[in-house]
């Protein structure tokens, strides 16, 4: 709480200097120089035409970061990251402002196709008009740090929904950004979140005004493109009183030689009676079979059920990354608020996953539900780490947790590390955990009926994760199902 207040105060303080530096002149270079310094932070801020208060905010985070040390408690093992050997900003070739999707480089569209971005997104990107009544998805495509396309703006505008790159929101809606940025994940929160606060490149900003149900699902595809460029996405979503929004995030990354650092921050805020549903399908490059390369994914995702009767639901399908360090959490501050976490985490090859959630019950009669499905194959390590805690005043808090792990082969590991703290006697927490192995008998049964080994594994795994897949929006679930099968290819001999 103190940290949040601190951030708010800081934002207020630097507001005074808001326009001292104004909007800096354009810098010709597309890439920040290698390494991290105050100059890098200034470069990024200038590149984004940011007002002075934002630069100050970043610099404060940077100075804080210098005093911090990288956390080591997660069950992941990786070579030391040389933060001075990374690029912190890169942009695609400078383009003129984009008025319509037709102006997007066809090569970029082609890349999306190769990445398997489903037809409906391609349709959206290509401007195909769908029949009235069909559910639509708005895509804010982030291509290597800079948003190159934002669709459906007009219709969202009619509904009063703001959906834009956060770099634009900083300029166009500074009052909203200042009010909410860093209030869920303070700049001092943790090593990676602080780093993100200093150097975040871009991300999405969503504001749904009171009583508005966002007319479509909002979707962003992230992709790392430039070699050696750390990606620092920053997402901020606010559902005002009685509002509802469903947000889909999907990631893919191409093959790489060197490890890439990805440290995103996502903040969600729900006011009274509001709901945010945040779904992720993550498919960063997991590295070569011997474990080299691949994305390091250190993500801080947190939702704040600030209002009474509000709800935040995280659904994630994690299939990629060499290292995953990610705990989408809910602060259940409002009375009767509800947090949900549905997760499928798949690790294959040499992947290491340490993921889970935190449900922090502060308000009265708050409820939370955690369904985690971990699947480990190859020589991977898959850890569920979760915290469920009830504050002294959180009377009537309820949690249900089910953690199931599935092992494929005998060289991988699944671990469950639950932390449960109840500081009042009326809290009721339930925890269930199972670990099982795909048996030879089940696989043989399936192949006897005509399925190939891989189809058989895919089928069994999809059955195992069914409870979570059901939480995803329909089209996303179909993709996720395919992705699960793909990511387990070669996991059986």
């Amino acid at each position: 709480m103190a940290a949040v207040q601190e951030t708010v105060d800081r934002v207020r303080r630097i507001d005074v200097d808001q326009y001292r530096y104004g909007f800096e002149t354009l810098i010709e270079s597309d890439k920040a120089p290698k390494g991290l310094s105050e100059d890098t932070v200034r470069f990024i801020s200038a590149k984004k035409n940011e007002p002075a208060w934002m630069l100050e905010w970043r610099l404060e985070a940077y100075r804080r970061w210098l005093t911090m040390t990288e956390p080591k408690w997660a069950r992941v093992d990786y070579p030391r990251i040389d933060y001075q050997d990374l690029y912190y900003y890169s942009a695609p070739k400078p383009k003129k402002t984009i008025g319509s999707l037709d102006e997007i480089d066809p090569e970029i569209l082609e890349t999306y196709k190769k990445l398997g971005i489903p037809l409906r997104e391609v349709e959206v990107l290509e401007g195909v008009v769908r029949p009235e009544g069909e559910r639509r998805i708005a895509v804010d495509a982030v291509f290597d740090s800079v948003s190159v396309a934002t669709t459906f703006q007009k219709e969202l505008k009619q509904a009063g929904v703001i959906f834009m790159p956060i770099s634009e929101a900083i300029r166009e809606h500074p009052e909203l950004v200042k009010k909410y940025l860093g209030t869920v994940v303070p700049t001092s929160d943790n090593y990676f979140a602080t780093l993100n606060s200093a150097v975040f490149s871009d991300g999405s900003f969503v504001y749904v005004p009171p009583g508005v149900r966002c007319p479509m699902e909002l979707s962003t595809y992230f992709r790392i493109n430039e070699r050696n460029t750390g990606q620092f996405e920053r997402t901020l979503i606010i559902a005002d009183k009685g509002a509802y929004v469903s947000y889909l995030e999907g990631c893919t990354a191409p093959q790489r030689d060197e490890n890439q650092l990805h440290a995103a921050v996502v903040e969600l805020i729900t006011h009274d009676d509001a709901e945010i549903k945040y779904s992720t399908v993550q498919n960063w490059y997991p590295g070569y079979s011997e474990g080299k390369g691949g994305i390091y994914n250190f993500v801080t995702k947190r939702g704040d059920c600030r209002g009474n009767n509000s709800k935040i639901s995280w659904t994630q399908v994690e299939t990629g990354s060499a290292i995953t360090w990610k705990y989408p959490s809910c602060i259940l501050r409002g009375d009767n608020s509800r947090g949900e976490f549905y997760s499928i985490a798949i690790s294959n090859g040499h992947q290491q996953v340490d993921s889970g959630t935190k449900m922090i019950h502060l308000g009265k009669n708050t409820t939370s539900r955690i369904i985690s499905k971990g699947i480990a194959a190859g020589v991977s390590q898959n850890t569920y780490r979760g915290l469920v805690t009830a504050h002294r005043k959180a009377t009537g808090a309820r949690n249900f947790t089910a953690c199931d792990s599935l092992l494929i082969g005998d060289k991988c590991g699944a671990h469950t590390v639950p932390y449960i703290e109840a500081k009042n006697s009326s809290a009721l927490f339930e925890h269930e955990a199972t670990t099982s192995k795909i048996s030879e008998d089940v696989l043989f049964y399936c192949v006897q009926r005509g399925l190939s080994q891989e189809e058989a594994v895919g089928l069994v795994v999809n059955g195992f994760v069914k409870d979570v897949l059901q939480q995803l929006p329909m089209e996303f679930a179909v993709e996720a199902q395919k992705l699960i099968s793909i990511s387990l290819e070669g996991s059986v001999g």
Partner: protein, 250 residues
């Protein structure tokens, strides 16, 4: 041409020889019963024909429709028409029976270069077969074999047999765990699938099953070999005199 020719088959499991030169010829339209005491190698034979991992074939060959079966992966054998009804069908939680049936059927058809079944045709077919086997629609929506009774599991095996239309059905201890009513339903299902182009190999301990599924040939296995073959009357003879006489013959 014979449908299945097993010639002088020798099989090991973990350094121990289980089958010592087994031969068996099955023609289309025939029903063969394979009987024998525990440990005589009956189930091993069914597993090796279906291609279950863990068995090492050290000698002999298996021809199916004139082709070398041992060269094929288990799913290829399935697509070619080999069906094994399991003694203990496995459970697959979260995978609806209907989904499983469709995935398997389409995988087989795809492997044969045939078009996938259309949804209405598939549903129509499943429903009519399910009705004939007394399988309620609700069972098709549940996870494969999850929470099924012994009888339901066996009926589900026969349902798949009817859907996939294999040319060779191997029934491994189909009667185990079934009461007499469940056995009759299952046997009726199997009998309905008897046809001039389809052969069946019925593996069982007991003559009882053969009252319901009447075989054309009976083979007695002992210690990894067929020690005696005959007509259906051989089963009755066994029922009267037991397997002991063959222990020495082997």
């Amino acid at each position: 041409m014979s449908l299945l020719e097993v010639k002088n088959l020798q099989v090991r499991v973990e350094e121990r020889e289980i089958l010592h030169g087994l031969s068996l010829t099955v023609n289309p339209g025939e029903v063969h019963a394979i009987m024998g005491p525990n440990g005589s190698g009956k189930s091993t034979l069914s597993h090796v024909i279906a291609g279950k991992p863990g068995y090492e074939v050290t000698g002999g060959e298996i021809l199916f429709k004139g082709e070398d079966l041992l060269e094929m992966s288990p799913d290829q054998r399935s697509a070619k028409g080999v069906f094994l009804a399991f003694q203990y069908p496995v459970e697959i939680p979260g995978v609806a029976t209907m989904t499983f049936l469709r995935t398997a059927l389409n995988a087989q058809r795809k492997a044969r270069g045939e078009s996938e079944f259309s949804t209405p045709d598939f549903l129509k077919k499943v429903r009519s077969v399910a009705a004939s086997l007394n399988i309620p629609q609700d069972m098709l929506r549940r996870g494969v074999n999850v929470g099924f009774s012994g009888g339901e599991k066996k009926r589900n095996e026969i349902l798949q047999m009817a859907l996939f239309e294999p040319s060779l059905c191997i029934l491994d201890e189909m009667d185990s765990g079934l009461d007499i009513d469940a056995l009759r339903v299952a046997a009726d299902g199997v009998n309905a699938l008897r046809s001039p182009d389809r052969a069946m190999v019925v593996i069982t301990h007991y003559q009882r099953l053969l009252n319901y599924i009447v075989p054309d040939f009976v083979h007695v296995m002992s210690k990894g070999k067929v020690v005696k073959s005959g007509g259906k009357e051989l089963a009755l003879e066994l029922e009267a005199s037991g397997y002991a006489q063959f222990e020495d013959a082997a």
